[in-house]
């Protein structure tokens, strides 16, 4: 489409015919102007010789050859440039798509990271809370056990103390009774013994 616009919209055959016509005019002019006066047929402009007939003829040839140039050079070049342009646009679009995708992925990843961080933070907080509860529970349990052990130890000490006191009391009682028995034995004369026997006989209570 761009090639057609640059060629001015004329069909190639028209351009060839028009070119050859212009070339013929140029040849005619060259012949016409060159046959009269050699100097007249040439226009010098700042030292550059200008020959209108050849110039017109060259233009006509160029115009006649333009479709060929266009077919074998401009069109492939234009096509290549277009393909290159399309490729670049496709690449750019792909890059843009990838960038967009990357952006969305990045956003998603950031969200997921944030969610993960939040979840991790929540889990850490939960674990910390659980650990604190466990710590308090263990401390309370340890305190209870400690109290129980102390209480048990106090009871055992109290029991051992009471037991020792009882044993001492019993031992003292035994010693006192042994001493009393000895004293009674020493002071128990025959008369008293006879009286004991007589009392026993008179107060005798039997079991059947």
């Amino acid at each position: 489409m761009a090639n057609e616009n640059t060629s001015g919209g004329l069909p190639p055959i028209v351009k060839v015919v028009l070119g050859f016509a212009i070339a013929a005019v140029g040849v005619f002019l060259n012949e016409k102007i060159g046959a009269g006066t050699e100097h007249v047929g040439r226009i010098d402009l700042a030292g550059v010789a200008l020959e209108p007939g050849k110039t017109v003829g060259a233009l006509g040839v160029f115009l006649a050859l333009f479709p060929v140039i266009e077919s074998f050079f401009v069109k492939p070049l234009t096509t290549a440039l277009g393909e290159r342009n399309d490729s670049l646009e496709s690449t750019f679009a792909e890059v843009e798509s990838l960038r967009s995708e990357m952006t969305s992925m990045k956003s998603e990843y950031e969200k997921r990271i944030a969610a993960t961080e939040a979840e991790a933070r929540e889990k850490i907080n939960a674990q910390i809370k659980e650990a604190q509860v466990l710590r308090q529970s263990l401390m309370a349990e340890a305190a209870d056990k400690s109290d129980a052990l102390i209480k048990q130890a106090q009871e055992e000490i109290s029991g051992e103390k009471s037991k020792a006191l009882r044993e001492i009391q019993i031992h003292v009682t035994d010693l006192a009774l042994q001493a009393a028995e000895k004293v009674v034995g020493k002071n128990l004369d025959n008369d008293l013994n006879r009286k004991l026997i007589a009392d026993f006989v008179s107060d005798l209570e039997v079991k059947k």
């Binding site: 009682t173 009774l177 028995e181 209570e205 039997v206």
Partner: protein
Amino acid sequence: MAGERVGLRYAQALFDAASNANVVESVESDLAAVDYHLQANGDFRAFLLSPNRGRDEKLALLDKVFGDKVTALSLNILKLMIEKRREEAIPDIKAEYSELRRLASGTVQVYVTSAVELSDSEKKDLLANLSTKLNRKIEADFSVDFHLVGGLKVSYEDFVIDGSVRGTFSRLRETLRQDTLKQA
């Protein structure tokens, strides 16, 4: 235990026969004499109870020692026990027989232990009182144990009446011990 059971059976048979013959007291005296020999003469006891000695030897020994000193009933039961190889029950037969005799006559055996020797009047009063209280005849075995310190102790069947100083202190000790334990 087995010897006691065997002795009881022989004692029962002997007591029944002695009761029928009305020689209960005599037979008991015979058994007391045999028991005395068994206790006092170790050789006699060892010979009579030895499983290595023959029956004829033992029977001959019995005839020689008791033939003219005990009643025929007593000698026969001893011979029967030897013939039946029940020599080991002979030492038990005296006690079993006496127990059967006391049981039959309603007599109770009383063991009296005192710190000093009891006088005859004290013994008499004690036995009279016991007989009245128990409403049974009394047979007493008196002994002296100075460990009692003072007073006396009477035991019969499964009962003990402890009127000794030692017994009084023992009861007091036990009472105080129980009180001390109850206070805890």
